[in-house]
Symmetry: C2
Subunit: 242 residues, 2 copies
């Protein structure tokens, strides 16, 4: 079928999913491009598929063709994609053995970069506090480099999740500029959870107090702090190169 | 004096400096906020200063008051600053002992993050190829976290500069995903130059061939590459923690 109107109910629904609240409520998010659509199909998470008219579609999945105008109406990007899908969230609510916890990280580029770092350095689960930017935000998806389906994502209450991690005997490391313990003094193990905080304020005091140990990255005192995407890369690389 | 018109010649000149070409030709760039203005004064690089009417200015520097409308016309940011200055470039054309070389790095956020990493990990000179985004671009300045005056910046022809570095017996390390040498096998020394490449294409072949050694950052094969801001952080931290 060819959808020619922006006011088609299916198309209106896709547009609504670009809103964080509605996306969170429904557990669905919008993906653009062949790469992410293929990953969604592989993971049995794709629920809808729209292809720009005039393009071939070889996926074994029920889809609709749409006009250029309709495609544009669904994409927040400047360049119009040839393919758009709707995917279920990746959330499995299962904790792994190597966990990253994000406490109120707000910048989409930073969250995307951290997800990419997590996949690069063998993190199996990323936990985001409810105040973080949604990992399913279009800007986050662009910064992940297509890595979103390569990691288990949990969005929830950090207090409860940290308790769960502790029950499983996994050590939780906080990151703090004020800590007296240098990263290079942290023992390398197979199971660990590492927490990174908000761009301006760092990890909230409440969460910091629950960490087993807080570490700092040594640096020249002229520099006040690093970008959180960079500091996550340094810490995760250190733990990975065991 | 209070400047009330956007068409004032001094104000028109500030606006022109927001253009990369004009900024490069004149060796001047626009800075916003107390932090950068103070650094520019400290470094004897400030040439002009404009203060939003109604605000105090305690700097021992000749300045003009401007109306809100005039201030807005000079700032590419959404939030209007209380103070705007014009600064000379930091370029000293002197090579230090710990050098970062950027080959066609295009994204302002990445260049800003790399400058911040350089200051954090004791790099004294950053060299940018002419095709890189200008380090004096307003988006770069925001991502540096105010660190722009803490490093020597050289913009120039990489061929000539690499030759100069070699003459000084400083080893040049390239970064490449295809390299067989892992970062952790690199000897830690007091003098080094490290080269990072374009976001999509990496370091150009010509430059890569001139490097003494090319290194890779080990990572899970599911991940194709890291963000260049992140990889620079990992490599520079490794060299810093000698």
């Amino acid at each position: 079928m060819l959808i020619t109107s922006r006011d088609n109910n299916k198309i209106k629904h896709v547009r609504k999913l670009l809103d964080k609240k509605i996306s969170m409520n429904e557990g669905l998010f919008v993906i653009e491009g062949e790469n992410l659509v293929e990953e969604a199909i592989k993971n049995n998470l794709l629920t809808e598929l729209y292809v720009l008219e005039g393009n071939k579609c070889n996926y074994n999945f029920n889809y609709d063709y749409v006009t250029l105008d309709v495609m544009k109406s669904m994409s927040p990007l400047n360049s119009t994609p040839r393919i758009i899908g709707v995917s279920k969230f990746i959330n499995k609510n299962e904790l792994g053995d190597r966990i990253v916890i994000l406490d109120e990280v707000q910048d989409p580029g930073n969250v995307g970069t951290i997800i990419r770092n997590c996949v690069a350095f063998n993190i199996d689960t990323i936990v985001l506090s409810k105040g973080c930017v949604s990992p399913y935000n279009d800007k986050v998806l662009r910064s992940t480099g297509g890595m979103i389906y390569n990691i288990n994502i949990i969005i929830g209450n950090l207090d409860n999740i940290i308790e769960e991690i502790k029950k499983r005997n996994i050590k939780i490391y906080g990151t703090s500029l004020k800590s007296s313990i240098s990263l290079n003094n942290i023992p390398k193990t197979n199971k660990y959870a590492i927490c990174f905080g908000n761009e301006g304020n760092g990890i909230s005091e409440n969460v910091l107090n629950k960490c087993d140990m807080n570490v700092r990255i040594d640096m020249n005192e002229q520099c006040e702090s690093l970008n959180v995407g960079v500091s996550s890369g340094i810490v995760l690389y250190y733990m990975y190169k065991g």
